[in-house]
Structure formats: C-alpha cells, structure tokens
Symmetry: C2
C-alpha cells in the first residue's frame, strides 16, 4: 500500500492503517514525508494530555484508568508511552509494558510505545509525528506518558495541552526534590496511591508549594487518587477538563498549539543537523589527531557541513 | 587579568586562577577559547572517575569520602557535581549542594557544580571544558558525579575513564529497572547504605546480572559500602585502581581518551549549531503560519542556516 493510501485510510479512521503509518514514519520509510504532509491539516484535532511523574508513582496505571474512562464515554483515545531506552543496549530499559487487559483490548483505545531514537531531538520529533498521525486517525484525546526526567522528555511535556503531574507518598526526599523542578509545568496534580500512609501529607505539601505563588490564572488542583481501584479518577478527569475549558477562553489553546508547531519544526531541524554531524564524526574517527585542540577541530568540521545534503 | 595569564597561572597550580578560568569559560567571556587552547596540552592528565546512580543511593557522600581518601594520600582531587537544573526555573532543582565540611575545606580538593546550559550538548561541552581546566590545574583525579538519567548525563558518563555505579537497597522496583539500563557502562559497583536491610540481596542481584555475561575482559566488582561511616571506601578505591591498571595495559586508556576527544568535538559542534537554530526559530516566531506543515518549513529554515555565522 502506498504511503498516501495509508494516509487516506488513517484519515478515514482505519486503525490498522494508522498503526502502519506510525511504523513507516518511525522507520522513515519511502514516502513517509508525503504521508505526513497529507495528514497535517488534521494533526491538531486531538486534545493532548501529558502525564508525568517519578518512577513508582503509578502513573501508568492511572493513565490506563483515565483512558478507560474516556473510552467508556464514547471517546477515541490514544496512549503514547515514552519508554526511555538505554543507548547501550539499544533496548527498552523499562521492559515490555504490561498494560491492563481491559484497556489494551478496548477498540476505542490505541496504545503505542516510543523509544529513544538515538539522535538529539529524535525522540520529541518522533513523538510529535505519532501524535499528528493519531490525531488524524480521529483520537479525541491522546495521553502521553513520560517518566519526566531528561531534556527530551521535558520538551515533550511542554507541548501537551494539559499536563498532569502524578506523585505518590513515600518516594523519598531526593525524588521530592526532582519533582520540584517539573512542578511549574503541571496544570493538574494527582497524589496517587492515596491509600498509603502519608498521602494527605504529600497533598498538603504540594498545596503549600502552590500557595506560595499568588498570581495564578489557573491554580492547579491536587487530587487524591488510587489508580488500582479507580478512586478519584472521575474527579481527576474533571480537573483536566476544567483546565481544558480554561485554555479554550481567550486564545490560550491557540497559543499552545503555535508553540507545539514551533517545537516540532525545531526538533526536525535538530534531528537532521545532528545526523549530518554524526556522519562528519565518522569521517573524523579515521584520523583523530591527539595533538590538535577540539575547538579548532570543531571549527574546521562546521565548515564541512554541507546544508544541501541535509 | 588576561585569559592567557589565567591559563598560565592555572597550569602553575593556582587554585584561584583555576576557579576564575572555569567561570570565564562557562560564561564564554572574551578570550576564553584562546585560554582553553593554551591549556589543552595538559587537558588529559587527570584520571576521571564517573560516579553515577539513582537519587537516594548516597552517591554524593560516597564521592566526598573517595575524594577525602585520595586527598589524604597526597593527591590533588577535583569534584565536579552535575546538577540538573529546571528549564522552567532556570535554577538548581537539587538545591545548593551541602558538602561535608571536611572535604570542602581540604586544600587538595577542588569542588565545582555544573548546571545545564540550556542548549543540547551544552552540559557535556561545559563539563568537558571544566575537566580540561581541572586537569591543567594539576588534579590527579577528578570525580564527576551525575544522577545518571538523561542523554547529556549518559554522554558525560561515557567519557569517564572508570565509571562507578552506586546503588542502595530498598529504592523500589522502578528504580531498579532504570539502573539496569546504565548497568553496562559501569566498571565498578558499590552497594551503598550497606547497613540497611536488603544490602546483601541487592549485591547478589547485581552479581547475578553480571554473571549473565560470560566474556568479561574486566568483570566489575560489587562492593558493600557505608559512605556515612567510611566502611568499604578503601576497598572501593582499590576496585577503581584495579580498573585503572586494567585500562593501562594494551592501549585501552588511549582508546578511551580518543573517544573523549571525539565527544568533546561533537558537543562543541552541536552546541553551536543549536544556538544558530534557536536564532532562526526566534525569527520564525514572528511569522508562524498554522497552515503550512512543519516538514516543509524546517526544510526552508535549514537553507537559511549560515555556517559562516556559527
């Protein structure tokens, strides 16, 4: 089947074609760019929810429950799980994702894992492409789940319409400190595993941090959830929808979407430049000269980058 | 004082000049490249030990103890702490590093924190520059401490001569999984907080993972340590030195150093290209056109990159 035919079927809501188009794009198979250009007018129709939080917070289970709730309400939902891979093994470091049977079997839910692509900007570019395809396929909502550490991951979270930060009690002090860094991009908070000791305390701590800032346009809520049982999931979805309503007023969503388009362009350029640099480095490897300083050598290599080949 | 004068004094072992040269280089002040070129012949004299491990493993305390032990033995030691900063706050997310008084007051120990620099390749480039300056200053050993997550961090760890992976019992299943990904670059393991329950078990688990591979040239040791009390620290240093001895045979260290030089060149190029891309994106921001697809727009922007301006 031709890439343009895959694009046409994806736009018509064909799940299998959608899956094949994502794979073609990931592998950058012949014609993938033409297909992406063809679906581009529908690339922004889905509402994107970023789900982030430290390991151990239970965000995968919570993501699944949110997806199930949306799907049960008749919505078409995509789940994109960003799965950091080791550059050494080239394989997944979190292992094969074990998804709840209920969600993965749901005909209204499309699940996809993304691994790192090896180049800088590669992961965020690949994710943006996948989101565009899932949107064209007809997803009403896409949940993008990341562990929330690392530059690429933060770049991805920044392009979501609503960002949900999942925490849990008892994850330790260091992890609390790391969370603080990503705190500012969260629109909605969940304290998951709320049946565990200390959940109330974690909720109060987050609330106290949020109270520290006075000039909120939209002050994030901090919801207690137990993903395993589904407790609090409906309320959390309500919090997300409240943020969506907030964005819909006064052109704020349009601004977010413009930022997302810019990020996508930046990632495509970074990825292409980086590949060219890798080619040059491979040439250089044959003739490394320990005596010359890296500053002069990099200046020389930059002159060799041929932009017509990028 | 001129940058070249700073370089001269740094080479002569002047601690204050060394500190000023690192700051000048971080800020890319006038003449910093000339100074770096001047110290470059001595950039590779120090032995670099990468210390990585998950939050909560106690690797900072262990790093301090290793530095103290080396300094007490008459060695000049540098500690470079990679401190991930939030792109949102532009500040440190781990907070100000509280170092043991004993180490920070030691005249043989030079401590420096590095934050992210904002650009891709920026952190690893800045770290490589700092390592070069500390080496020229006369450090016999430099300990580079990172949290071990994210592409930049892994790039940094890869350039160390010996990589020490610090783990601890009871950090949870998710964290165990993340560790597995970085497992392959570790030359020496420490199970820190060995006075806690489960330390022996963690040690056995790591050993079992290592046993899985049959063709070791240098099989990593797995040492139990209690950084707080210093238990096992001498033994751990012995493990590191054994790896150093191993590298010294048959040109393996030279190969590592050549790889490090290549990485440094790559990071300089990436950093410069990325800054040019950011300039172009800023121009673009004024005229974002939602109707055009990002693939065509990035092709157009790539043509605008003027390599004579990089």
């Amino acid at each position: 089947m031709s890439p343009l035919e895959l694009a046409r079927l994806t736009l018509a809501g064909d799940k299998r074609a959608c899956s094949r188009l994502i794979s073609l794009t990931e592998n950058e198979g012949t014609g993938y760019l033409d297909a992406l250009k063809a679906i581009y007018p529908c690339a922004d129709k889905a509402y994107v929810i970023g789900v982030t939080g430290p390991p151990g917070s239970g965000k995968s289970t919570l993501t699944d429950k949110l997806a199930k709730t949306l799907a049960d309400g008749g919505k078409r939902v995509g789940i994109v799980a960003i799965d950091p891979t080791s550059p050494f093994t080239k394989g997944s470091i979190l292992g094969d994702r074990i998804r709840m049977g209920a969600v993965s079997a749901d005909k209204n839910v499309f699940i996809r894992s993304m691994g790192t692509r090896g180049s800088l900007g590669g992961l965020s570019k690949a994710t943006a492409n996948t989101l565009a395809i899932l949107s064209a396929y007809g997803c009403d909502y896409i949940l993008v789940e990341t562990v929330g550490v690392g530059q690429s991951e933060i770049d991805i979270v920044r392009t979501a319409d609503t960002t949900l930060m999942v925490m849990a009690p008892g994850l330790g002090d260091d992890i609390q400190a790391i969370k603080a860094g990503v705190m500012e991009i969260a629109d909605v908070f969940a304290v998951n595993k709320a049946d565990k000791d200390g959940a109330k305390k974690t909720q109060l701590e987050i609330s106290a941090m949020l109270d520290f800032r006075m000039d909120w346009d939209f002050k994030p809520t901090v919801r207690l959830t137990v993903a395993e049982t589904g407790d609090g999931v409906d309320g959390l979805l309500g919090d997300i929808m409240a943020h969506r309503d907030y964005l819909s007023n006064g052109g704020k969503l349009e601004k977010k979407r413009a930022y997302k388009r810019m990020s996508h362009i930046r990632d495509i350029i970074r990825d292409r430049l980086d590949r060219r640099v890798e080619e040059l480095m491979a040439d250089l490897a044959a003739c490394t000269d320990a005596g010359r300083d890296p500053y002069s050598m990099s200046e020389e290599l930059i002159r060799k980058i041929d932009l017509t080949r990028i």
